[in-house]
């Protein structure tokens, strides 16, 4: 019984990981089409990607978008989470809702709405459009992460800071931000990872300034190209690095606390 269950779990995980692993493996295969048996090990597809300035250019754009997006959405998300934590005010549910709802709307629809709106106000067709849209999409994740951390903040910690002479600005800087710091870092990395991977909205609003995933989308839509595997493996590694970095920071933070013991 237990064995059957384990076997079943293994199959489900195979389904989840098959495309990731296969893509990774075939990115090092010489053959143009992924078939069995595997042909010789080769880094030809990586070389091809690196040799094409289009890819590097789109990657550069993605990096710009991701870094600006992560900082902006983490700041907005932090502020919003703090408002929700600290105050009780009229319309609070609505406030939280506009903060949290965007990821529940299909990105396709967000993309269309953004395209229509941004082109109407003359903001479409550039990296700034992608940043605008990605901040909308990423803020909720930052907000949720920080809100979770704030709910663990001991009662009175902020009041203790005021009581010792720190006004609201100072206690924000000296108490709230340090307390939430791990969550803030995690939010920066995770929003960056989301932005790096987002293609639907970017496809609608980026115009000629293709980001990397948009470039991949256009490739995939047209023909088979093993370059996709190479790019995929590369971005996967990058995203995973960001997430692992977030984890390392968190753990290091904890360690530091423990070492003081």
């Amino acid at each position: 019984m237990r064995f059957l269950l384990r076997f079943y779990v293994a199959i489900v995980f195979v389904f989840i990981f098959a495309p990731i692993v296969v893509s990774f493996v075939f990115s090092f295969s010489e053959n143009r089409f992924p078939t069995l048996p595997l042909t010789a090990f080769s880094t030809i597809w990586y070389e091809k990607v690196l040799a094409e300035p289009v890819f590097l250019e789109s990657f550069r754009r993605s990096l710009i978008v991701a870094s600006v997006t992560s900082v902006l959405s983490t700041f907005i998300g932090f502020g919003a989470a703090y408002m929700d934590y600290r105050y009780r005010f009229f319309g609070q549910k609505f406030y939280v809702a506009i903060g949290m709802i965007p990821p529940m709307i299909p990105v396709l629809i967000l993309g269309v709405a953004m395209l229509i709106f941004l082109s109407q106000v003359g903001l479409s067709g550039g990296l700034h459009s992608v940043i605008i849209a990605h901040v909308v999409l990423c803020t909720p994740f930052a907000m949720a992460l920080v809100r979770l951390k704030l709910s663990q903040m001991p009662d009175n910690l902020e009041a203790a800071a005021w009581n010792l002479g720190a006004n609201e600005w100072r206690s924000m800087r000296m108490v709230v931000v340090p307390f939430c710091w791990p969550a803030i870092l995690a939010a920066i990395f995770i929003t960056a990872a989301i932005s790096l991977d987002e293609f639907a909205i970017a496809w609608f609003v980026s115009g000629l300034e293709e980001t990397l995933p948009v470039r991949v989308l256009n490739l995939v839509a047209r023909q088979s190209s093993p370059s996709v595997n190479a790019i995929g493996s590369f971005t996967f590694t990058l995203s995973l690095t960001l997430v692992v970095l977030a984890q390392v920071v968190l753990v290091a933070n904890q360690r530091r606390g423990e070492k003081k013991a």
Binding site: D155, A160, A161, L164, P178
Partner: protein
């Protein structure tokens, strides 16, 4: 309720003065009709059951709540709406509220940083306070690794390093174990004497309050029930609530029959009682009153005393041992419960059988009469 009589009318004499202070949360009063003066160097304990408004009162002093009516003045200056960071009345919190991301030393320096004290100077002052409280070796630890007693000392150091006029303490010992409580009580009391500053100490624990404070404020349902020196409040409760809350008192309902030079005579369902304690002059004949007698001032005997007044016959229904002290519970006529508190040693002279009848003697001078409200 008026402010206590020992304070003078000179406004400058009172460091802190509450005048008709009221605090409402929604429709319910957390604090009402609150009048109190606190002088320089006082150790005031505000005591009452949970929800009585004592913590709200303290938070109003710290500026974390603002009165909905009335005035709070410090040195004559109104501070009702003053922001907490401008008050310099540090608070020692029940859960310590130490900053977990700072070291112990950095915690103590926190207030000095807000004062823009130079780094060297604040480090020196913080270290001095840690040394003074016997935790000089903990400076580089994280507060999350401290024991309750250590954390409480850090909290004290963090507050006192600011050299405040007033220190606020909110149930600071409630999270400590019993041995530690007694030690910290002594230390806090000595500290207050040595520093000569005002301590306002909120607690629900009467032994803490009586052990340290020189004035005790008893609160109930947002109002002050009684203010006075610890012994005075303990021996002469002015209201039924105080009699129930402080110490172990017997409370018997009755009606005044007569005033005479030898005392007041009160008729109760247990017979007539005579009290020689001075009473509220407004209580005339036929006033509804309570007889109050502290359990440790009632004596028990198996034989009926010959010429004694205020003797009640009651049946022993239970006993509870608490260390060297024993509380005997009796039932008298009409189901009236009476308690007697004795030293363990005194018991050896009595043979205690359940349901046995005893004679309880209430000395007229130890019997109080208070109005029934």
């Amino acid at each position: 309720m008026t402010a206590d009589a020992s304070a003078t009318d000179d406004e400058n004499a009172a460091l802190l003065r509450f005048t008709n202070v009221q605090k409402k949360f929604g429709d319910s009063f957390a604090v009402r009709d609150f009048n109190l003066e606190i002088g320089r160097g006082d150790f005031v304990a505000i005591m009452g059951p949970s929800g009585c408004g004592k913590t709200t009162t303290l938070r109003m002093l710290a500026g974390l709540e603002h009165p909905t009516a009335g005035e709070i003045r410090r040195n004559g200056e109104m501070i009702n709406g003053l922001s907490p960071w401008l008050r310099r009345m540090p608070l020692v919190w029940q859960n310590y509220a130490l900053f977990p991301f700072l070291t112990v030393l950095e915690n103590v320096e926190f207030g000095l940083r807000n004062d823009k004290v130079s780094k060297i100077d604040r480090r020196r002052r913080a270290s001095e306070w840690l040394d003074r409280l016997g935790i000089g070796d903990l400076g580089h630890r994280s507060p999350t690794t401290l024991s309750g007693g250590q954390a409480q000392r850090v909290a004290l150091a963090r507050a006192l390093v600011l050299e405040p006029e007033v220190l606020l303490l909110d149930e600071p010992l409630s999270a400590l174990d019993a041995n530690m409580v007694v030690r910290m009580q002594t230390e806090i009391a000595q500290l207050q004497k040595a520093l000569g500053i005002t301590f306002v100490y909120v607690t629900h624990n009467q032994s803490e309050a009586f052990a340290m404070a020189n004035r005790v404020v008893i609160m109930n349902q947002g109002k002050i029930e009684q203010v006075g020196e610890p012994l005075e409040v303990y021996r002469l409760p002015k209201t039924r609530f105080v009699a129930e809350f402080v110490g172990t008192n017997n409370i018997i309902d009755g009606t005044i029959v007569s005033h005479s030079p030898s005392g007041v005579v009160v008729e109760t369902k247990l017979g007539q009682f005579v009290s020689t304690n001075p009473i509220d002059g407004t209580l005339g004949e036929a006033s509804r009153v309570h007889i109050i007698a502290s359990a440790d001032l009632v004596s028990v005997s198996q034989d009926r005393p010959k010429d004694s007044k205020n003797v009640v016959t009651a049946r022993l229904i239970g006993e509870s041992f608490a260390g060297t002290i024993v509380i005997l519970v009796f039932e008298a006529a009409g189901g009236q419960e009476l308690k007697v508190q004795l030293q363990q040693r005194a018991l050896q002279d009595l043979s205690l059988d359940p349901n046995q009848e005893f004679h309880l003697v209430f000395e007229p001078m130890d019997t109080l009469v208070i109005p029934s409200v």
